[in-house]
Amino acid sequence: MKRNKPLALVAGAALITLAACGGGDGEENEGTTGTEKKFGAQEGGTKDATLEGPAQEVEGATEGGTVTVYVAGDPGPNSLDPTDGWSVLGNSIQQALTHRSLTQYKRGEDGQPVLVPDLAVDLGVPNEDFTEWTFTIRDDATWEDGKPVTAEEVAWGIQRSLDAETFPAGPGAEYSKGYFAGGQDYAGPYTDKDKAYDAISFDGQDVTIKMEKPFPDMDYWGAFMAMGPAPLGKASQPPNYGTDPLSNGPYKIEKWTPSEELILTKNDQWIAESDPARHQYVDEWIIKFDQDQAKVDQIMLSGNSDSQTAIATSIGSDKYEQANSELGERLVQQTSQCVSTLTPDYTKITDINVRKALAYAYPYQDVWLAGGEVPGVTRVPANSIMPPGMAGKKEGFQPDGEQIVYDPEKAKELLAEAGEEGYEITMIFYEVDPLAVAVQKQITKGFESAGFKVKAIPVQVSPYDIWLNPDDKVNKTLNLRGVNWCSDWPAGSTMLPPLLSGDGVYNTALFSEPEIDAEMEEIAGLPLEEQGAAWGELDAKIMEEFFPIIPTAFRNDLFVFGEKIGNPSGDAALGAPNYKDFFVMQ
């Protein structure tokens, strides 16, 4: 899953975003007064297929009140159509409050996400080789107009996700089209109007999906709101439906001004007994997009009546220390299952020693500081592509023996070994953001003191526009790119193939090894319980043998909660505030 804000995708992000525990190293301890904080980490996914509604009461929860959510520096989704949602921000709000899907996540006792049923009565029943999944839709779920959610509407909603042309930003283009039978040949119900599509069928309360290839993660994919119902026919016609989609969760959309504000009010037709994980404690949600971070920080730290029932989805790094000492439990850190990487061009930098030299020449701590991050808090050292806690992740694994840190001497040795002293690196940076400029200065200094030559090209468009465009003339000259990637669900299949398979969408390293591609195919077909470990093995193997991508950091988010917000916590599945379980203390 991509982060919504393009700037946050660049190595130096203006906002504090994700990570797990990890100390810094080097000379950094002088004058330190900060208290250690515990991170909400994600440690793989557990599942509970039998959980029944209503959701377990939150201790001490009371009803009523209005909660204001301040979202700094992110304009929010362009469309509220569930099929179109593929951003951390939009999905975390809509999936928790307004739009239900086949399955969902619940925050478990230990803070870990648990996959539980939502509109389906269980987590789906696959056939033996995961090529056909059947979900039985519960009969007591309702729309905001009181009508029941039918299996036909769910099937229709799922079918919509195959229309990559109508929903170019939607996740369906990746998963529905990638896995559903005939998905590649079917352009979707709006683009391919007259074509019948029979891989998705419904019978009574059952919805059956046939797969092109084994898809054991269908239950996780079912937790995306794109795998939920849509009203039949004209009622869900895009793009109009995206401005005011019919809600079926505990809240409905009262008013939405794109890039500004989203107001949600209680949906009185929602039946608590039909939903195993959502609550309806709060009367009203006001989500304010595209706020100024400095302003939000002031509001949240002021403790005035406005801030008492407010939530901020980020905090400026300059205010972290103050917030950490003043807010205590109300500052929540949450891993967001994301990794920042540098991607050396595999077709140009062919020597693994040069790639490793780059990893040793990258001044991690300094880049984080210059980029406005809090080292050890919002950015922690990374060892491989799979984020910490992901099922199968080999903890403690180090591709080069021990944690790679900035070590120009080692980098020089590696370069000498490769016979490539003075190797010229060509990369781009986003010069409009002063933070990105500061970050680039650090990278250049680090690389140069390790014996590289650096040509840094300033650009004024999102670096992704250049990295992902094979015909761009600047892109053709680059031999070092980057990508920040977040998992869509806690499985290696959402991390490794998009970044490292020969045809991966975000494979900016242009890494392609038939052996690895074949192995990825093979793992996708393994029995479910073996997959996690297999992905972990592959993750380690790729890093050890090829080192095609330099993971620079795992990322963490910080959320700030007002005094009267009950149950301040994060949602580990998405790396967002845990909207499902909040209440206002009366």
Binding site: G24, G26, E27, E28, N29, E30, G31, T32, T33, G34, Q293, A294, G316, S317, D318, Y320, E321, Q322, P363, Q365, D366, L369, A370, G371, G372, V374, P375, G376, E431, V432, D433, P434, L435, V437, A438, K441, Q442, T444, K445, G446, I457, P458, V459, Q460, V461, V474, T477
Partner: protein, 338 residues
């Protein structure tokens, strides 16, 4: 003209007490040119003198920037911030302000996040600011004076065409043009090694191209009234070529409006440069006060000194230039009653 025989001096129009032409005092006054009179007035204006000293200070800082930095032992080289900042204690400098006392190695302190030396960036920022403002003023005033002179003196179709262009440039919003031009230049030149220089000169170009119209209008108006005067007519009757009439007859009489418009253009450009840098266009790499201000805004509580330094630089320079400009105008204007 009601007093065609009166000499073209400014002294007779002031309210200074008339002096007996044969007295000793009068001897000292005789022979002073209008410029000398204006200068004398300027020297007596305390505000003008103070402003001039302040401006001189900034000019010295700008001209001798590298030596000043060397003297203090600071530079604008990138350093690794993790060696100088308290990583887990809020990212503030380990030595010097805001949490510790004066740090002799870094008299102005160091920046949070990047640990850049503030003094070095301040001095270099002053240089950037004055270089860009001075060059832009030079180009804009040459352009403005030329067009104003031609439009005013030649009249007719030339005047119509030139006035049209003056109006046209006045209608284009300056900020919008600057914002549009930045990505275009970037797209075209970002792989060139001289990108930084190109960026600087394009900024000077943008400032000049959108800054000459005021001067042009002012000069045109002056010329319109001057060209009907007898001395110009006489020069024409004598058969002087137009170029000589423009340069030898009109230009000296335009000195006052030109000096005034230049002295008011400078502070406007200093402010515009800082404003553009604050918005992230203009000078993006290298030192600039506006850029430092934009980085420092969020630290106004924890590290106010970081914000005050560039802010005081901009405010003091712009204020001094403006006040001096006003004083020059007053001094040159024979009608001012003081």
């Amino acid at each position: 003209m009601s007093q065609p025989t009166a000499p073209e001096t400014l002294g007779s129009l002031t309210d200074e007490t008339p002096i007996d032409p044969n007295s000793k005092k009068a001897k000292a006054i005789t022979g002073r040119s209008p410029m000398q009179i204006a200068l004398g007035r300027l020297m007596r204006d305390k505000i003008a003198v103070v402003c001039a000293i302040v401006i001189l200070f900034f000019i010295i800082v700008a001209v001798f920037a590298p030596w000043i930095n060397k003297f203090f032992g600071v530079d604008t080289e990138t350093v690794f911030p993790s060696q100088y900042l308290d990583i887990l204690g809020g990212g503030m400098p380990l030595e010097g302000p805001p949490n510790n006392g004066f740090d002799p190695d870094h008299p102005f302190g160091i920046a949070p996040q990047t640990a850049d030396d503030n003094l070095a960036y301040w001095v270099e920022g002053c240089r950037t600011s004055l270089t860009i403002a001075a060059l832009a003023t030079l180009f804009a005033s040459v352009l403005g004076v030329t067009i104003g002179l031609l439009a005013g003196f030649l009249g007719g179709i030339v005047d119509k065409v030139l006035s049209f262009f003056i109006d046209l440039f006045l209608t284009v919003p300056f900020l919008l043009a600057a914002l549009t031009l930045a990505p275009i230049l970037n797209e075209r030149f970002n792989t060139a090694d001289s990108y930084v220089t190109i960026q600087k000169f394009s900024l000077i170009g943008v400032l000049a191209v959108f800054g000459w119209m005021g001067t042009a209008r002012l000069i045109r108006g002056e010329v319109l009234s001057l060209r009907e005067r007898e001395f110009v007519q006489a020069a024409r009757v004598l058969g002087m070529p137009t170029s000589r009439v423009l340069l030898k007859e009109l230009m000296p009489n335009l000195a006052a409006p030109i000096i005034i418009s230049v002295s008011l253009m400078l502070p406007a450009f200093v402010a515009a440069e800082a404003g553009l840098a604050f918005l992230g266009i203009g000078v993006t790499s290298g030192a600039s006060w506006g850029q430092t201000i934009s980085k420092a805004v969020k630290y106004f509580e924890q590290y106010p000194l970081y914000l005050w330094e560039p802010l005081i630089g901009v405010v003091l320079l712009v204020l001094s230039l403006n006040l001096l400009g006003d004083a020059i105008r007053d001094a040159l204007d024979p009608k001012t009653r003081r």
